[in-house]
């Protein structure tokens, strides 16, 4: 099968009749089977996807097909898809079938995207390596001894390996951008509240974002246009109008950008030398092309990680209370009374990382520590937000590495949680501040492992962010 660069190329051929949705689905199914060892998919909806493909092929013939006709999508195991299993990579939702569609999923289906399967991820989206899944780790297709990043590891690998064209993931502290960087694909985390969270299993509600993986910026723009926007089921979603991102992308402004970078990221002691060099090279290229590049001090950067881990775990400890073995999912078979039902169910079915974060969150919310941790972290979050807003008054974008290193070995950081948490050092900032961020592939390191470059923009500046991302990818 032809190697299509973008969805638009596919749709051109679909219109010409030189390819069909059925061909596309069959192609991706072949890759999925071929790359089964990567453990990217938890369920593959083979028959259903084929049936849907032939249905959409009819619609194409009759000229009634939706905007995403021909797009084969995989979804992270955190999105409610009606009548399909949903487990958040956890044993605690054993056997659970969602009775409804997440808003993002509903909008994909309404525009004739074909959902090919459910993707592996860290349990409840908690992790940076996809080693916390109850269904085993996902392997990086660039090097099978290495992790794909997390928590949306399965989603990143699926796009990397060509198992689907687009993956829909979730990004709470970098869970889309960091695996995108590790796998050499594009990963977008839009502005907080840009996409409805209805039907996305909550990890940390005030950070959670629906994110999009693709091989190119244009495909991501198409999907964003479809799934973003107001939703009556999510009171926190923004009512700001959704722009026509693909159209904006096709009309890039011929302007000189003002780009900022942080000294704290460039001089970060944990930063892999090749990534540092890659970043500096890119900054030089931008300067050469006539754009303004300034290095700024951002001393608050080091506080974004602890701020994130306090607030995110606080929210998580409460969000995960509903998994109690009473109404659905796993219930311990050896319970004797109410207390043991809760204790045994949650001890047996939650993984270690999830338990750790629930305990941490419960601690920071407890009456005697609330002000010292939760209240203080909220204040720091506000400070960081204000500072970012101030920077975006002068600069169009902030450029920084997506992660301090390229993909690390499986098991490399599992013994030291703090080292693992440092993998999020550069990605949590966007979630703490609520601004949009994207990771774009920018070459490889000495071992041939993908390097990701991260771009942040001001609230709701996705159109500019996508334009600049496409521009930067062309420079490389």
């Amino acid at each position: 099968m032809k190697d299509y660069a973008t969805l638009r190329d596919i749709q051109d051929d679909l219109a010409r009749g030189t390819v069909s949705c059925a061909d596309l689905v069959k192609h991706h199914l072949r890759v999925i089977h071929l790359k089964k060892h990567l453990n990217a998919f938890l369920s593959v909806y083979e028959e259903e996807a084929l049936k849907q493909a032939s249905f959409i092929d009819h619609k194409i013939k009759s000229g009634t097909a939706g905007r995403l006709a021909g797009l084969v999508v995989g979804i992270k195991d955190v999105f409610a898809y009606k009548h399909h299993p949903l487990q958040a990579g956890s044993k605690i939702l054993d056997g659970f079938i969602s009775p409804y569609n997440a808003t993002a999923i509903q909008r994909l289906l309404d525009e004739d995207a074909i959902i090919i399967g459910r993707q592996n991820c860290d349990e409840f989206a908690m992790g940076s390596s996809n080693e916390n899944s109850a269904f085993g780790p996902v392997l990086n297709d660039a090097d099978n001894t290495r992790v794909p990043g997390g928590s949306s590891g399965g989603s990143a690998v699926a796009v990397q390996a060509g198992m689907c064209r687009i993956s829909v993931g979730s990004d709470t502290g970098g869970s889309v951008r960091q695996p995108a960087a590790f796998c050499g694909v594009v990963g977008l985390k839009p502005t907080y509240s840009r996409i409805s969270r209805y039907g996305l299993i909550a990890y940390a509600s005030s950070f959670d974002c629906v994110g999009i993986f693709g091989t190119n910026v244009e495909d991501v723009a198409h999907v964003l246009e479809v799934i973003a926007g107001a939703d009556e089921y999510d009171s926190t979603v923004s009512k700001k109008p959704v722009l026509q991102y693909p159209k904006e992308l096709s009309q890039p402004p011929n302007k000189k950008y003002k780009v900022a970078c942080f000294r704290e990221t460039i001089d970060s002691p944990g930063l892999q030398t090749e990534i540092k060099k890659n970043l500096l090279d890119n900054l030089d290229k931008l300067k050469t092309a006539g754009h303004t590049v300034d290095a700024l001090d951002f001393p608050l950067l080091e506080y974004s990680l602890p701020t994130y881990y306090i607030l995110a775990t606080a929210e998580a400890s409460s969000n995960l209370s509903r998994f109690d073995g009473v109404r659905y999912g796993y219930r311990s078979p050896s319970t004797s009374d109410l207390q043991s039902l809760y204790k045994k169910t949650r001890t047996e079915a939650f993984g270690k990382e999830v338990q750790k974060r629930i305990l941490l969150g419960t601690f920071v919310l407890s009456a005697s520590y609330y002000d010292a941790y939760y209240t203080k972290a909220q204040r720091v979050r506000q400070l960081i937000r204000n500072k970012m807003q101030e920077i975006f008054k002068t600069y169009d974008f902030i450029l920084m590495p997506t992660a301090p290193t390229t993909a690390f070995k499986l098991g490399e950081h599992t013994s030291d949680p703090l080292e693992m948490y440092l993998a999020d050092l550069f990605s949590v900032l966007a979630n703490v501040a609520g601004v949009p961020g994207i990771s774009v592939p920018c070459g490889v390191d000495g071992k041939g492992l993908p390097i990701g470059l991260q771009i942040l923009a001001n609230d709701f500046e996705e159109a500019n962010l996508l334009q600049f991302s496409a521009y930067l990818m062309k420079l490389n």
């Binding site: 409610a80 409804y100 039907g199 299993i201 926190t236 659905y328 009456a367």
Partner: protein
Amino acid sequence: MNLSKYTAVIGLEVHAQLLTESKIFAADSTAYGSAPNTNVSAITLAHPGTLPKLNQKVVALAVRMGLACHSQIARFMIFDRKNYFYPDLPKGYQLTQDRTPICKGGYVSIKLDGVEKKVQLNRIHLEEDAGKSMHVEGTDETFVDFNRAGVPLIEIVTDPVIRSSAEAYAFLTEVRKLVRYLDVCDGNMEEGSLRCDANVSVMLKDAIEFGKKVEIKNMNSIRNVQRAIDAEIERQIGLLEQGVAIVSETRLFNADTGATYSMRTKEELNDYRYFPDPDLSPVEISEHWLDEIRLSMPALPEELIQKFTTHYKLPFYDAEVLTDTKDIAQYFEEVCKHVSNYKAVSNWIMGPVKSAMNELTLTANEFPVSAVTLAELIQLVESGKISFSVASQRILPELLKNVGTSPLEVAQQLNVLQSSDEDSILPVIDSVVADFPDKVQEYKRGKKGILAMFMGEVMKRSKGKADPKVANQLLLKKLDEK
């Protein structure tokens, strides 16, 4: 026991289920008595990925109550999560308002032995109800019905300013009257749509510091709240008199024994880890919205009392009785549209109508005699066509039995229509005067009391149909002529 040495300090927490069609954060019905687990959507059951969506109507109802209680209405509020595990709590937390209650302060006026007291409120806040656990007796099985989970509640919290069970009784009666007037809650304590917990402590009369407080739950009527408080005050004083310290705890009232029993001590209580719910955007109550709510508010009892004493010129007592429930007040006003003697209407409703309602245990809404029909009946009396006693004792019972019949028809059937036309009454008077010449002489000599005998005779001979007023006048004229 020397009760007079002590003062009781009481604070009440009243939960009222709001009269909305759907739940506070989901579209499920709030209907009472549906089959178990039939009003339960994915949101109510806290399925993974669901988010709450605020029902705007609950805000309007809570604001109504706040305005009626003279509270300060929040212009900006959030919901908080109260975290604890229980099978009837689907999300593992209850959405409530900890730091930004929708209404702050305010008061409810009560009257006790003619003395008015303003019971200060601490707050009124919004929250969601939990489901219901049902333990099957004799087994270790428990079933949970989530129909009630997510039903909207307001919690009205008083300051610790109530000093006796009688005050608590008066306060609750007033609150129930208010919620019913405002269509905020049906006020039904037996079905649990109005619930009350009481915090009770006692201290020596001249003490400055409050005693240890005990929370009492499980009282399903206003009367039982009063009984429970009395029992608790007596229990606490008894312990203090014996030198035993009071333990802060939660106690349950047993209506059969009239005593309270320990449920759990406060030390065992949860740390609820309140924090702002990040799934619900903050709610802003705009000036415009507030105005809309104000305009949609039904009149309050105090406003009606004002209207009844000025516009209808009723005595204060009448106004108070007639505004006891909204139904009665509306019924009165409805009747007054057709009758100009408002005091007569008041007498009718406070008298025969109320006693018929009590006898048949009907509310004004359920009363089978329409306002128009009652107005016709009152008119018949007012115009002298029938006497009050005939109207109330003979015609009203007929109207209650045969809904839709007209009072005039009934009067005709019973042959009780009075004659007020002089031509038909005069011959009767003539015959009575002619038959008792000696009595006429006694009257002339100044024994005016004999008039009653003449009137009695006239009414007897006219078979009660003569209008007494007209007959009286004609009789006086006749006697003075002689």
